[in-house]
Amino acid sequence: MLFQPAIIALLLAAGLAVVMLAGAAPFAVQVIRHWDIHSGSERQLALERRTYLFSTLLTFVLVAQLAALLLFVFNADRLSVMFVGAMCAVGTLNVNAWGFPSLIAQMAVFFLAAIWLAINHVDTLARDYPLVRIKYVLLLLLLPVLATNLWLEVQYFVNLKANVITSCCGSMFSEESKTITAEATSLEPLPALWLFYGGMLAAIAASLWHGRRGGRASGFLTALTSGAGFVAAITGVLSFVSLYIYEHPHHHCPFCILKPEYDYQGYGLYIPLFIATAAGLGAGAMQSFAGRPSLATIVPRVSARLAKLAAAGFLLFTALSTWFILASNLILIEH
C-alpha cells in the first residue's frame, strides 16, 4: 500500500531527514574534534560558517518531523476504511506489529527534536556558540533515532496488507485486556479524575512558577511535571475524558476523538498537550547549561518564555477537557 499520497509524503519526510542528518554527521564529527572558538585559523572560520548551514538545515528537518507526527496520525485515521475490523487509527496501527512502534518512534522523534531545537535556539542567541559541541553530539545521537523511525515506518507501510483482519479500538482499549493501556483504561473515574487534575495542576503550577521566578530547580521541575503531566493527561483521556466525549460508558479509544463525527475534538486536545509537553521538556533541558557565563542571562529568559508557553498549553488542554466533560450528557460519577 505504498502508493498512498500521504504515505509517500511521510516516507519522503523521514527519508530526507535521515539523509540530511547523515550528511551532517561528518561535519558534526569535525566540529566535535576541532572546534576552538578562540582560534582564528581558516578551519575554525570555515566551521563557524558551516554551523549556520547545518543549524538551518536541522531546524528545517526537525520542524518537518513535528508536522510529520500530525500527518502520521491523520493518515492512520483516514486509512481505517481500508481494513476489515478497523474503525479508527487503532485498527490501522494494529494491522501489523510495526504500527504502534512507529507511532511511538514518531512521538519520540517529536519530543527529541523539540529539545534539540530549544538547545539550538539558546546557542544561537549567545555570542560565543557555547553549546556547539553538545549540539552536535546530540545530533549524532539523534541520527540513529531518526533512522530507526524511518526503518519502522518503511516496515509498517510495506506490510500494510488490506486482507488482514485487525482489531478495533473497542477490543484494544477495553477494561479486560492485560496491557498497560488497559490498566490506564480500567482506572475508576474518580481516582483517574484526581490523578488527571493533580497532574495538570502540578504541570501548570511548576511552569507558571518557573515562568515568573526562573531558577534552575524550578526549570528541572517544569520538565519533570510536564513529562508526568503528559502521562496523566493521556491516562485521563483514556479513562474518562474520551467517555464523556463519546457519551458512552465503555468506549475508551483515544483515537476516535480525532474523527469528524466528534468534530475533530481530539486535535483540539492533543495539539496543545504536545506543544506544552515539548516546551516544558525544552525548558528543563536547557537548565543544565545555565551555568555557562555567556548563557547566564539567555537561558533564564528563553526557558521562562517556554515555561509560559507550556503553562498556556496545559491550561488550554485542561480547560478544553473540562469543558467537554461539563458539556457532555454522560453521567459517570453520581453526586
Binding site: M1, F3, P5, A9, Y52, A67, L70, N75, A162
Partner: protein, 378 residues
Amino acid sequence: MSPWLEKQLHLIDFTLASLGRRKTKNIGLLVAYTLIVFVLASLTLFTHALRSEATFVLASSPEVILQRMVAGRHDLIPPDYIEKIGRLRGVQKKEGRLWGYYYDPVLNANYTFMARPADEVKDGYIMVGNTLARERGLAAHNTISFRSYSGKLFTFEVSAVLSPDSELLSADLVLLSENDFRKFFEYPAGHFTDIALSVANPQEVRNIAAKLSSSLPDSRPILREEVLRTYQSVFDWREGIVLTVLAGAILAFAILAWEKASGLSAEEKREIGILKAIGWETGDVIRMKSWEGLLISLTAFLLGFIAAYVHVFHLGAAVFEPVLKGWSVLYPSFTLVPTIDGLQIATLFFFTVFPYTAAVLVPIWRAAITDPDAVMRA
C-alpha cells in the same frame, strides 16, 4: 508589539521590497511553483471528489449481494435457492434480482437491462438512463426497438428518462418489467441473476455473510463495504501512480528552485554585501532569505490551490479526467461535489513546500556567508 515580532515585520517589509526589485526572476519562479501546486492539487482534489462520490453512490446499495458460482463462474440462481437461505436473523429483506447486459450495435456499447416490479414499469414500456437517452436521442413516449440475442425484434415505448441526478449509476441503464425481461433474454422461469439482502445493523453484515457461505457453499456473498474499500484503494492507487509519475516534475521543480536560489546576480550579491557591512549578521540574512522563500511558497500554494479548485469543480478537471475517472463508451456526465480535505492539503504541502525549502537551503546559506569586502571590491 514585542521586539521579536517587530523585527520579523521589518524583515518581511524589506524582503517584499527586494522581491519587487527583481520582478522577472521571481515571477518566473512563482509561475513554475504555482503550476506544480496546481497540477498536484488538481490531482488530489479530483481523486478525493471521486472517492466521496463513490461513497455517496454506494450508500443506498444493498448491504450484501449473493451470487451463485458454478465452476468458479457466476451462474443463475435456481428457483428454490431463496427458500434455501431460510430466515436469517438480521436480514430485513431478500429479493431475487434480474439483470443482464445487452450489446447495442448502434452505439457499440453495452446497456444494463434490469427488471423492475410491475407497478414501476408496465409491460411494453421501458425507462432509460440519461446518458443512453442523450446518445440515442430518446425522450419520453418515443419508441425504440432492440434485437434480442435470439434474433427477435422487441419494441418498447419509453415511459420516462431517469433523472440526471442518478446519472452516475444509471448512465447505461434500461429498466423494464419482469415479463419483458424474461421474454427478451429467454430467461429460464423462476431463475434470478443474483440475490440482494438488506441488513439493518452494519456490524452484523460479516456474520450474515459467514452464515450464507456456510449454508450455501456454492455462493459468493459480495459486501457493500468491500466494494467501497475496493473503490477507495483503486482511487488511492491511481492517485499514487500519477503522483509517482509526477515525481519527476517535482524533482525538476526542486532543481529549478535550487538554480534560481543559487544564481545570485551581481546586484543581489552587492546588496547582501552592503547589508552585512552595515551590521547585518549571517543569521539575519538567512532569516530574510527564509522569509523570501516562505512568502513565495505561500503565494504559490494559495494561487495554485485556488486554480486547481476552479479547474476541478468548475471546469471538470479536463487535464486528469482520462487517467483517473476510468473509461467507457457510455460514460455518465456528473458534476463533482466540492470537498476539501485537511489530509489532502497537508499531504500537498509536504509534496511542494517541503522539496522547495529543502532545495533552497544550501543556496540561501551560500548567499548569507558572503564576505562584504569580497563583494564590494569585485
